[in-house]
Amino acid sequence: MNKKEDVNQILTNLMKMDDVLACMLAKQGLGGVIPEGIKVKDVNFWNLVKNTTNEIFPIINKFFIYKIDRLNFELGQYTIIFAPISQNFSLLVIISSLSNIGLIDVEIENSRRKIDYVLKNVD
């Protein structure tokens, strides 16, 4: 498997968590990896998220040396979580605002670490 397939598998597994509505590996300059089975029903919202991820990277880069861990956007119905992996990549996860965010955050971190490993080690 190549890096993209490995990352896609990690994201596909993360999507199996009930409260995870969408996730992707966001890449600076747009693009990235999006698994199948996105559960966000509001297509306009999901498109807005995908199209604005690139605007997050200047913020991630400014705070990267301060070990930026998470960037959370708490909206009415959804919470968007950015878990930066490097200055160029961030795991993005959308959960329901009624989710137990702490429990999901543990598996977001495990996925983030696995993706980080893949990006650094898999050819």
Binding site: S97, L98, V106
Partner: protein, 435 residues
């Protein structure tokens, strides 16, 4: 010292139940270096629930383990093990020892009659302890936890039900369902108090089974069978020293309250300071009234606002679970009319780990069992890895397992029998100077 004991933790994060069962058992046996465990504590997250998943999981585990190995456990919200922090997967803590005697006792129908269940387990453990050649006795107590009814049309994790009619129905339903359906509050304080009365020389920690903090389901495992309403107790008799500690990491605030009226076994607060409880609680906490319109706000905030009681110099904690009409549902039950609001920061609840582990810092540790409140897990999130680092430093190459539970139990002669929330409880087995 301790060469006669080999223990290890296996893990699988497979999503398929069969594979997860097989792989966790294989991983455990690999880490046990050829030793066949006498006991395996098996803890899983709720994710294998559907389509007979837990039966398949257990079939996978018991199919790999040699015949005769006792397997007990159930569902937890997550766990911290040497491999990391997880809120998805299955972990197996296996023990081989010729210097420890393990015994298992379990009893069904604990929601209907928790005292009877505790007595049954205590009597079985008494027999095992009385024939043990070892001096120190420990009990890991694992009851089925509180379950909430899933109401059609009401989203998961809804914490506020404003309708008076629906609230009243929920309160009445909780009491009736406890007896008839055996669903509802666990009343686990009766269990730890009974076990402590019957086995006063033993030390104990425990915690209740739960799902992913939604509170709809929890399951218990005994060998290849799955249960929903069982108390499991694990007796450990040994010449190892057993250090049992319980820590909160909470600080008392100046916000005091008088709880005037409760019902439903002390779990439903009807009046605080002489007025209906829900509005008064908002006022005490300086929370705006619109929080009552927003379950997400209440869900996120109540974790940081536990209610504390000081009874005979001992600290007890309740967590706010729901707001039903004008009342507040808490768990565990109210312990005293006089209460105060407690507070915790991430730092304080992590510092509780250091405080807890202090007295076994330089000991010859064999293994450790830990029960930690689901509220700590929810508060810390990925910062659970800070706790993981501390545990790795403490246990070094020795195995440990923290299970994240809903309500914790602790008993020693010094601490007394306590049913608590928001706590971090350890039972650390180590060799003293004499061995």
């Amino acid at each position: 010292m301790g060469e006669g004991t080999v223990s290890a933790v296996g893990f699988s994060d497979d999503w398929d139940s069969d594979s997860a069962g097989v792989n966790v058992a294989k991983d455990l046996l690999l880490k046990l270096n050829g030793k066949i465990p006498q006991l395996v504590l098996l803890f899983s997250t709720i994710h294998y629930k559907n389509n007979g998943g837990f039966e398949k999981l257990l079939k996978g585990v018991t199919g790999i383990l040699p015949a005769g190995v006792s397997v007990v456990g159930g569902t937890v919200a997550g766990f911290i093990i040497p491999q990391g922090c997880f809120t998805h997967g299955v972990a197996a803590f296996g023990f081989y020892s010729d210097e420890i005697k393990f015994s298992i006792a379990f009893a069904e129908n604990i929601k209907r009659d928790p005292k009877k269940a505790a007595l049954r387990c205590a009597n079985e453990l008494k027999k095992c302890f009385s024939t043990s050649p070892f001096k120190n006795n420990f009990v890991l107590t694992l009851p089925s936890g509180t379950t909430s009814p899933k109401i059609p049309g009401i989203p998961d994790n809804t914490r506020v039900i404003k309708s008076k009619l629906l609230s009243n129905l929920m309160i009445i339903g909780l009491q009736i369902s406890l007896i008839l359906l055996q669903k509802g509050p666990g009343r686990e304080e009766i269990i730890i108090e009974t076990l402590a009365e019957e086995l006063p020389e033993a030390k104990m920690i425990g915690g209740s089974f739960i799902d992913d903090n939604k509170g709809y389901f929890n399951f218990q495992f005994i060998n290849n069978k799955v249960y929903t309403n069982v108390l499991i107790t694990v007796g450990i008799s040994t010449d190892c020293e057993v250090s049992v500690n319980s820590s909160f990491g909470l600080v008392e605030t100046s916000k005091k309250l008088k709880i005037n009226k409760t019902s439903v076994f002390g779990l439903f607060i009807e009046k605080i300071n002489g007025v209906p409880a829900s509005n008064e609680m908002l006022s005490i906490l300086d929370w705006p009234a619109y929080f009552l319109e927003d379950s997400a706000k209440i869900l996120r905030k109540t974790f940081y606002a536990p209610i504390g009681y000081l009874v005979d110099g001992k600290r007890y904690i309740s967590m706010m679970a729901f707001i039903f009409g004008t009342g507040v549902v808490v768990s565990p039950k109210v312990r005293s009319q006089d209460a105060c609001m407690m507070t915790a920061s991430g730092h304080q609840i992590i510092d509780a780990v250091d405080q807890n582990l202090m007295d076994t810092k330089d000991k010859n540790v064999v293994f450790g069992l830990i029960t930690s409140c689901i509220v700590r897990l929810e508060t810390l999130g990925s910062s659970g890895y800070v706790v993981h680092s501390k545990l790795m430093d403490h246990f070094k190459e020795k195995p440990f397992m923290q299970i994240d539970v809903v309500g914790e139990d602790v008993y020693t002669k010094e601490i007394g029998a306590k049913r608590i929330a928001n706590s971090f409880n350890t039972a650390i087995f180590y060799w003293g100077d004499k061995k």
